[in-house]
């Protein structure tokens, strides 16, 4: 293997960015940022880069991670400013196609919880808040949730529905989950295993989840990182800020 699980997650997310996508990343999103870099620089995907930084199309080669993914110095030389207000209006009009969301819990319906563990009023753990989750879940045709692959994260039912997954699947929107073990896709029949990260087995995927995940006959296995992929990730995050998300 040529990378840690974090790096494989980045590759997994990068491969979901397609030609013509209009992609937006939010705060606390080092993995999505590196996925966007990889998609553009290594896979040559022709997508539009927007973000919470409000820098439209920064100079990708100069993107560098910092402890904030809202930091304008990390995505320099944009073509111009595109405000978040503007980007979210594009979402309301169906023109923002792709968004990444973290989750403290994600469940069998694809609901995510970023609000509180243990209920709103007496939270065992207060979470940072869903930010745009509740607004964008009903609007964006392709959402990629990223989360740590553990039973207390991949749950049967979230404690609080910050972002509702079921209406997405019902509308035919793509609703995907990248973990540090696998890529899972939500379908009308529930979550389906689509790809294993390098070195991960189906059993590990199932055993480390408290939700039921369907396993189809054929499951892709991700190729390990190529030297180029690894080099590009390192170039844009030389200090390993991406590992602060503790995905392994």
């Amino acid at each position: 293997m040529t990378g840690r699980p974090t790096d494989h997650m980045i590759k997994c997310m990068a491969r979901l960015i397609e030609q013509g996508d209009v992609v937006y990343h939010g705060l606390t999103s080092p993995l999505p940022v590196l996925a966007m870099v990889l998609a553009r620089r290594v896979y040559g995907v022709d997508f539009t880069w927007t973000s919470v930084i409000e820098h439209l199309e920064p100079r990708v080669e100069r993107v560098r991670l910092a402890p904030s993914t809202g930091d304008p110095y990390t995505e320099p030389d944009p073509v111009g400013i595109l405000t978040t207000i503007d980007a979210f209006d594009l979402a309301a009009k169906g023109k923002l196609t792709t968004m990444f969301f973290g989750a403290a819990q994600v469940d069998e319906e694809g609901n995510t919880n970023l609000t509180a563990i243990g209920g709103y009023d007496r939270p065992r753990v207060k979470l940072p808040g869903g930010a745009a989750t509740a607004y964008l879940f009903p609007l964006v045709p392709k959402i990629i949730v990223w989360a740590r692959h553990e039973p207390r994260v991949l749950v049967k039912r979230v404690d609080f529905v910050t972002g509702p997954g079921r209406p997405r699947v019902e509308k035919g929107y793509r609703h995907l989950l990248c973990t540090n073990k696998a890529l899972i896709e939500y379908t009308r029949d529930g979550p389906v295993l689509r790809m294993l990260l390098p070195g991960v087995t189906v059993e590990e995927v199932l055993e480390n989840a408290a939700m039921e995940i369907r396993v189809p006959r054929s499951v892709e296995e991700m190729e390990p990182l190529t030297p180029e992929e690894k080099m590009v990730i390192e170039e844009h995050d030389p200090h390993g800020i991406r590992y602060m998300q503790r995905m392994g």
């Binding site: 553009r40 439209l56 944009p78 209006d89």
Partner: protein, 281 residues
């Protein structure tokens, strides 16, 4: 490998004019005699697209040219004025004779409708408007406004239905080949129009390389996400003004008015067509 995104969409005037379907609703940039998309309108005149409806707050020269060339079925505007030269001469004549439908709107309501269109919501609440005879027409005849109540206080307001024109024709100072575009000086509602319209066609005084935009930190009036086609049209607002670049040509406008008043507006347009197309012909 690094690509710029998305693909360029720089086209010529004829190509842009072909994009506009007969029967559709069009909004145009600027105001009376300022930053009208005259070159794009000249393209439509040359092609002879029919049955268009124009929706705008305070259109002037370009609107009247469209009317004179027989392109219009209806006009929805808060004011159609040639200012001290009087009403938009052809629009006035065709509205009085009933040859075009004239929907009189109100500035604040046009803004509200474009805002709803730009934000992707079906309507926009607006203050003002109550008490005018226009309210009944918009509610009962045109279905464009409706009285609603604030769900919290019960206060009566007007809901303006979203305006989402089929096309926005917008003349700007500079654009890259992708539609990342900059308007200088007054914006009017053009940034809303760009966001509210289903398809956006830009004409630009200057086509710039994307690299030239970097570092200026412009809050872009239009972006590649919004724009479908870009036409290079230097002096493409003539005879209307392009703030910072050239002034309105009042002699030409007066010439047009005089021609229109004696029923020769079409001739004036034909005679001046090449010039109206700016440097894009």
């Amino acid at each position: 490998m690094t690509r710029r995104v998305p693909s360029p969409r720089l086209v010529d005037l004829d190509y842009a004019a072909e994009l506009v379907e007969p029967g559709s609703t069009v909004t145009i940039s600027g105001m009376t005699f300022i930053r009208n998309p005259v070159a794009l309108v000249a393209g439509l005149v040359r092609r002879g697209v029919r049955d268009l409806c124009v929706v705008d707050r305070e259109p002037g020269f370009a609107l009247d040219v469209m009317a004179a060339a027989g392109l219009l079925r209806c006009v929805r505007a808060a004011m159609a004025s040639f200012e001290l030269y009087g009403l938009a001469p052809t629009v006035r004549r065709l509205a009085e004779s009933g040859e075009i439908e004239y929907i009189e709107d109100v500035c604040g309501a046009v803004i509200a409708g474009l805002r709803a269109g730009a934000q992707g919501v079906p309507f926009m609440p607006a203050r003002g408007l109550l008490g005018s005879d226009l309210l009944r027409l918009h509610e009962e005849r045109w279905g464009t406004w409706r009285r609603i109540r604030d769900p919290w206080t019960g206060e009566e307001l007007v809901a303006v239905r979203a305006i989402e024109p089929d096309y926005a024709l917008i003349h700007v100072h500079a654009s890259d080949p992708y539609g990342n575009a900059v308007i200088e000086g007054p914006r009017f509602e053009d940034e809303l129009k760009i966001r509210a319209a289903r398809r956006v066609i830009i004409s630009a005084e200057r086509i710039v390389d994307t690299e030239e935009l970097r570092g200026f930190m412009h809050q872009l009036s239009a972006t590649s996400i919004h724009v479908e086609a870009v036409v290079h049209a230097p002096r493409g607002a003539w005879p209307t003004a392009m703030p910072g670049l050239y002034q309105a040509d009042y002699d030409a406008i007066r010439g047009y008015v005089e021609a229109a008043r004696s029923g020769r507006a079409v001739e004036w347009v034909k005679t001046n067509l090449k010039r109206l197309m700016g440097g894009s012909g």
